[in-house]
Symmetry: C2
Subunit: 334 residues, 2 copies
């Protein structure tokens, strides 16, 4: 049986474009002992996928010829493991392809209680990242001012809403007037500012008259520099992503004023991955599930249809064209 | 009565030198109601005094004509406050001068149980900064690798010794072979590396084969960049000072790889002032006093004699000529 996969055709030097990928076909690979063969149903598109080309991250760097990796939802078609049977819905690193053969111990079975796409957004890594980043890393408290960059993105849109639920004042940083409008009118943000505006610095200052207690940063670069200059005493910066610096081979020199500003205002900057808080996963999932059921958390998913759209999805995320979680819908479960 | 004081004669553009100060004399100022007049006995010299010229810190910027400020030990000569009587030994911001008139509520009485200089070193701000930075901010644990920059300086020399007392492996970063020798043979550091050496990066790597769990940074600049690249997963960077960037009007762009490295390794960078932990002062003072009495903590003080040496002292600290805490001995108590 012939299946499709996206492989790396060239290493990007500057901005990623479609020429860096090629869609190839091959015989479905054999499932070996201890492995599982899955049909890929949904693919998560994350800005970090661009960073994997840079070779500096929490995973191995990409090389030409590699199948493009991605966290995904799949359905087991063939199992040579005692842990899975055909029909099981699973999550794991299945990649940008129709069919994936992976070691059974790299898969997690999903007890499906919600639309499948949710397990890549609010009930998946994105939701856990937002939850742990805001509460465990950022220690957001009622009454505090929380600013989130990439506010209309997958993680940012959840962070802002959760901060509102916690009783914080919430300011979003995004890249268009449409997104500003969406954040304040639909998601309940107290204010939203546009980093592309000439008066961005002044607008952020006006939106945060008492300074920033928690800055949840998905973006880095100049946005981080500006936010650093507005931090309140004992403020916390949650370092979640650096999307402004992924789509280049010459990332910026570093965060301006670090460490001087950190000392002058007793500020904490902390990087994290959701896996750092794996022992609190149940707590987080219960909270997230509860908010979804109550309808207090709006889940924004930006869905592209078809495996062939995967590169377009990633390029869009890097340029900020998506609203909410960017997903690729590949197939429905049987 | 005529008294001497050092005032700011010019604002430094690049490196501080003696032309930026002038020693002037004037009539002893009158003590007003609620104020106290003190003879200055000991002056603390701190690299941060250079940063005060830059205008970016936790205190107001300096201006031409200002008496050079400094934390000091004095003896009350005249009191128009019910809280102090002549003869009291006090600490406070008395400045680079023979005689200082300050508001009584800005002074702290010292119950003298040790040589007076100790209250500006191990039993003063320096000791508290080292203690809280290492244990409260850095959360150093037995068996961890602690690296301290400015290791032969006032704070660094205490940090390294305290980390050894806690059971850590300790590596010092300093600027001369003499200091390396002193750190390892006299203070018990496990290793010391010289940031001026060509092979500094390789030497630090060799000294920290498992990475750095706690980096206590007094220096910033390139030293911080190099240490960042060697941090262990979940490492902590204690941002205490940026001495490499004080003696210039064009400080470096920022810490390289921040926030990317912080995310990839779940690293925390935290700035602080000892005052953030004022509620734990008793605990810290008891510990410090205990170590001094046991003789387990070697206190290094680098003493210059005479108020006229104050500029030389500060210039020396910025160039790293001092070993241990730089102090100016102005007068003895009556």
């Amino acid at each position: 049986m012939i299946e499709r996969r996206w492989r790396v055709a060239a290493m990007p030097e500057e901005q990623l474009d479609s020429s860096h990928f090629e869609l190839v076909t091959a015989e479905r690979p054999e499932v070996l002992d201890g492995q599982v063969g899955c049909r890929v149903l949904w693919i998560s598109i994350d800005a970090a996928q661009r960073a994997w080309f840079q070779g500096v991250s929490y995973r191995d760097a990409l090389h030409i010829g590699d199948t493009m990796p991605a966290f995904s939802i799949g359905q087991v078609v063939e199992s040579r493991s005692g842990d899975f049977v055909p029909g099981d819905i699973v999550s794991g690193h299945l990649g940008w392809q129709d069919y994936s053969v992976v070691d059974a111990d790299e898969l997690t079975r999903i007890e499906v209680k919600a639309p499948l796409s949710r397990y890549l957004s609010v009930l998946g890594i994105t939701g856990l990242t937002a939850y742990f980043g805001l509460f465990a890393v950022g220690e957001a408290k009622p009454g505090e001012t929380v600013v989130v960059s990439g506010a209309a993105g997958a993680t940012g849109s959840l962070v802002g809403q959760m901060a509102k639920l916690r009783g914080c004042r919430v300011v979003g940083i995004c890249g268009s007037t449409e997104k500003q409008e969406w954040l304040t009118s639909k998601l309940g943000f107290d204010a939203a500012v546009n980093y592309r505006d000439e008066n961005f610095r002044a607008a952020l200052k006006q939106a945060c008259p008492d300074g920033i207690d928690v800055f949840f940063d998905n973006v880095g670069g100049t946005t981080l520099d500006v936010a650093l200059s507005r931090m309140a005493h004992r403020g916390r910066i949650v370092c979640c992503g650096v999307v402004s610096q992924y789509d280049t081979t010459t990332p910026s020199r570093g965060a301006r004023g670090v460490p001087g500003i950190l000392i002058g205002k007793s500020i904490t900057m902390r990087g994290f991955l959701y896996t750092d808080y794996v022992e609190r996963s149940d707590e987080a999932m219960q909270a997230l599930q509860g908010w979804i059921e109550e309808g207090t958390l709006i889940v924004a998913e930006d869905i592209l249809e078809g495996l062939e759209k995967a590169p377009q999805g990633l390029i869009g995320v890097l340029n900020g064209t998506n609203v909410g979680k960017q997903l690729i819908h590949v197939a429905d479960p049987s």
